[in-house]
C-alpha cells in the first residue's frame, strides 16, 4: 500500500518509459513460450470436453432464487445481489426517437476484469482462461484471467474461489499496468461499470489447466477468429497502453476533449428507473419479455449445468438481442496517419449522456420502421463495402453471462472523401487510435463496442518496434 521504508527517498518517473516497448515486443511475438497458436483450437476444445456444459431455456417459473417482485414486477434474486431486471424511461432533447421505455439490467456491483501478465524468455505473456458462459453461442471462449463480480469473489455464490483474484485485490502481488472503470452496454445495462485491470505478476504464478499463457501477438491473431476472444477480454485488451508512434492527428487532444465536452453538454438525457411492470410497449409471457413489435431484445431465462464454473448448476435471466448487430469503424489515412470515425452516442444506461462509440453500431431490423433519413449514418457504406475495403472483420459476442447469442459483426472499413468526408456530420469526429488509447486510460469516454474495435485495430496494426 505504498513504498517500503527503504524506498522513501526513491521517487519514480511518473510514466514507465519501458512499458510500451515491452508491450510492442509481445505484440510482435507470433509465437509464445507456452501454447502454440496452431494448437490453440485443440486446447480450447479439450477444455470443453473436460467439463460438461448444458444450457436450456426455461420458463420464468422454473427460475430458482429469482422471482418477479409483486409490487414492481422487477425480476431479482432473493439475496438482493447479482443483478435485477427493472424498467427504464428515457427522454431525449433531440434525435429521431425522443422517448421510450424498456427493460434494463441493474447491476450496481463493480466487478473485476483482469488479465495477469508475466515475462517469459523476455516476452510478456497474458494469462487467458477457457471459460464457459451460458449466453455464448459456442459456450466456451477465451476470457481474462479473472472475470468476477464482487458477488463471485466474496462468495455469495457459495461456490469455489475465483482463481488468481489475489493478484488484482492485493497490490503487493503484482504491478498494475492499467486499471480503469469502464462502462458496459448502455442499451442493456443501467450505469454498469467494471474495473479493467492489467497486472504484471511478481514471482512465480501457479499453473492451472483451464488457463494458458499467450503473447499479445497470439491473442491478436485469435481476435481475427469468430467467437473466440470474449467481450471481457476485448475490453481489457483495449486498455493496454500500447505505444502510439504517431504524435500528430487531425485534431489536437485538447480539441478532441473539447468536442467531447460539447457533445456531452449539448444532449439533454433523462433516464429514470421505473418498475418493470409499468414499462410501456413490452409484454411479459411465460418464458420471455418481448417488445410489442418484436424489436430490440427479449428477456429470457436459462438453466445451466456446468462443472468448471464456481457453482455446479444454476438458473438465471439473460437478455437475447433480436438479430445480429453490425459494429464498425470507418477508417481513413490522412497524411500517413490512420484515423477512425467515432460517434458521440447517447445510450439510456450511460452514467453521463454520451460516450464515444463506433461509426456504426446498429442492428438493421431495429431501424426498419424508421423513415430512410433516420437510418443510422454510414450503415450502408459499411454493409456494401467490397472485400478490398475491409481491413478487419470477425463475429464477436457480447458478455455471455448476461446476454444470449448477442453476436455482432465487427468491421474496420476503409472510407474515402465520398463515403465519409473529413468534415463529418454533427456528432462524428475523426481521431487516431493513439488518441483513443489515451482516452481509455479514463472511464466513460469510449463505449464497450468501440473498445472492442480499438482492440481489433491494435490487433491489425503492424507492431511498432
Amino acid at each position: 500500500m505504498g513504498p517500503s521504508p527503504a524506498e522513501h527517498a526513491q521517487l519514480r518517473p511518473r510514466e514507465d518509459a519501458a512499458l510500451a516497448d515491452r508491450l510492442a515486443r509481445s505484440a510482435a511475438a507470433a509465437a509464445g513460450s507456452h501454447l502454440a497458436t496452431g494448437d490453440f483450437a485443440d486446447w480450447l476444445a479439450g477444455r470443453g470436453r473436460a467439463h460438461r456444459f448444458e444450457v436450456d431455456r426455461i420458463p420464468f417459473a422454473e427460475l430458482e432464487g429469482w422471482s418477479f417482485d409483486e409490487a414492481t414486477g422487477n425480476l431479482g434474486h432473493h439475496s438482493g445481489r447479482f443483478f435485477s431486471v427493472e424498467g427504464l424511461r428515457v427522454t431525449l432533447g433531440d434525435g429521431p426517437v425522443r422517448h421510450w421505455e424498456q427493460p434494463i439490467i441493474k447491476q450496481p456491483e463493480v466487478g473485476i476484469l483482469g488479465i495477469l501478465v508475466k515475462e517469459f524468455d523476455g516476452v510478456l505473456h497474458l494469462l487467458m482462461q477457457a471459460k464457459m458462459e451460458p449466453g455464448n453461442p459456442n459456450l466456451l471462449q477465451l476470457s481474462p484471467t479473472v472475470q468476477a463480480t464482487r458477488s463471485n469473489y466474496t462468495k455469495v455464490h457459495k461456490g469455489s474461489d475465483v482463481k488468481y483474484i489475489e493478484y488484482f485485490t492485493d497490490p503487493a502481488r503484482g504491478r498494475v499496468l492499467a486499471d480503469v472503470l469502464q462502462s458496459e452496454h448502455g442499451s442493456w445495462f443501467f450505469r454498469k461499470s467494471n474495473r479493467n485491470m492489467l497486472v504484471e505478476a511478481v514471482g512465480e504464478v501457479p499453473e492451472h489447466e483451464d488457463f494458458c499463457w499467450l503473447t499479445l501477438g497470439q491473442v491478436n491473431e485469435l481476435l481475427h477468429r469468430d467467437n473466440v476472444v470474449n467481450m471481457d477480454s476485448r475490453t481489457v485488451l483495449s486498455c493496454i497502453p500500447v505505444a502510439d508512434p504517431q504524435p500528430r492527428a487531425l485534431f489536437e487532444d485538447t480539441e478532441v476533449l473539447s468536442w467531447f465536452t460539447a457533445e456531452r453538454s449539448r444532449h439533454e438525457v433523462s433516464a429514470e428507473r421505473i418498475p418493470l411492470a409499468s414499462v410501456q410497449g413490452w409484454q411479459r409471457g411465460e418464458s420471455s419479455i418481448d417488445h410489442q413489435d418484436g424489436r430490440f431484445f427479449r428477456a429470457v431465462a436459462v438453466r445451466v449445468r456446468a462443472g468448471s464454473r464456481e457453482v455446479a448448476s444454476w438458473t438465471q435471466p439473460l437478455f437475447e438481442p433480436v438479430g445480429r448487430g453490425v459494429t464498425a469503424f470507418l477508417t481513413r489515412t490522412v497524411d500517413g496517419v490512420r484515423h477512425v470515425l467515432v460517434h458521440a452516442r447517447v445510450e439510456g444506461g450511460f452514467l453521463d449522456t454520451v460516450e464515444l462509440g463506433p461509426t456504426v453500431q446498429a442492428t438493421e431490423g431495429n431501424h426498419a420502421h424508421l423513415p430512410a433519413e433516420d437510418r443510422p449514418p454510414f450503415l450502408d457504406t459499411v454493409l456494401t463495402a467490397g472485400p478490398d475495403r475491409i481491413h478487419y472483420q470477425a463475429v464477436h459476442s457480447e458478455e455471455g453471462g448476461r446476454f444470449l447469442n448477442a453476436e455482432s459483426r465487427y468491421l474496420i472499413v476503409e472510407a474515402d472523401e465520398r463515403t465519409a468526408a473529413e468534415q463529418p456530420p454533427e456528432g462524428f469526429r475523426w481521431v487516431t487510435p493513439g488518441q483513443l488509447t489515451s482516452l481509455v486510460r479514463h472511464g466513460h469516454y469510449v463505449n464497450v463496442q468501440a473498445r472492442t474495435l480499438l482492440a481489433c485495430l491494435n490487433a491489425t496494426a503492424v507492431p511498432a518496434r
Copy 2:
C-alpha cells in the same frame, strides 16, 4: 468545426508544446498591459459604485416564480428551469455515518464557466469580470469572463445577453486551451457539473467596463486576498494546463489512477432523490429549512436588486452553510518534489461515489456530536499549525449564485512524518500538483474544493521559466 480544405493535409501535433511556456510567462508577469494590480481594489470598488446592489432575506412566501410543489414539497421555478431544491437519501456501505437525508439542489443544466485569454505585448492576459452574486459576503467578486447557466444564455431570464458567450459557443471565434466538465459541491448539489473552459481569442476583443485583462501572475496575486477571486474563477484557473517541471513522484500516474479506481470501486454509495417534504431530520419554517440540530446548512430565500446582472431584479432560494469551513492540503516535499495529501471523498451528490478532495474539508460544528475517533483526520494538524508551517491561507466563498456566505478558510500547510506519514491512512494518498493538473484535464477526478486549492498551489509556486 474542422479543418478548412486548405488544411486538409495539415496534421497537427497532438499536444501544443509552446502553450506551457506561454502560460509560465503569464504567471511570471507580476504586471500586465492593462490594469495595475495596485489599482485593482479601486477598480473593483468603482464597479461596485457604478451598480446598485441590494440583497434582502425574504420569507419563502415572497418568492416570485418559485413555489413548493403541493405533492412533493420540492421548491422549484414555474418555468421548470434554473434549479430546484429537492430531497436526497444517502446510504453508505462504510464510514461513521451511514445513512442520512437532506435537502439538495438539483440543477441538470450544464453551464459554462469560461475565461477568455489573449496575448498583449507577448504575454497572455485573462479577461476577468467584476460580477455581483447575491450570496457573496461582499457581493462583488472577480468572476470568469463568462459564468452562465444554459438558462442565462438561452434567455429564459428574458434579460440581456451574456457578454462574450460567443467565444465559448462558436469554435471559430477562438482556440480552446482547456474544456472539461467538472463537478461542483457534492454535499449541496445533485450531480451538477459545469463546463470549465479556457479559450484564446482570435482577433480583436471588444472592451467592457465591467471586465479587465490581467496576467496569470496578477490573478495569482489576487488569489492571496480574501473573497476576491470567486469560485467559478478558481475552478477554471485550476484547469489551466500549467507546466509540470517534475516528471517524478512517489507514485507513477498509473498507480495513482489504480488507487483512485480501487477507491471508487470499494465504496458502496446509494443516493436517491426523494421528495423534499419527506426528508427526515429537517424542518421547514416560514423563512428557512433547517436541520433539527442546527447543523450543516439551511435553505433560505432572498430578493436581489441589481443593475449589472442579466435582469434587474429577482428572488431566489440559496443554501446558507452553518459556520465557516476549513479546507486544506497538507504538503510535504519528498526528494525535492512537493506532494499534497489528497482524500478520496464520498459526497452524496457526486455522479460516481468518490472524487479526490483536500486533506481536510470540514466545518468544525458539523462533527461536534461525533465521538473523537470520528473527527475528520488531520483537522487538528491544520487548526494548530503555526504560521511558519502555513504556505498559503485566504478566505474564499463558494458559488454566490447558490450559496449564501459560504466561506471557507483555505490553507496549504507543511506537514512532516509525525503529522502526516508517507504511508497515510486508507483513503488518503500523496500526489504531486503536476499529477493533479493531469487529472483535472478530465472530469470527476478532483472535487471543487481541491480544485480551488490546486489553483492556490499554482499561485504560490515559483513559476518555471
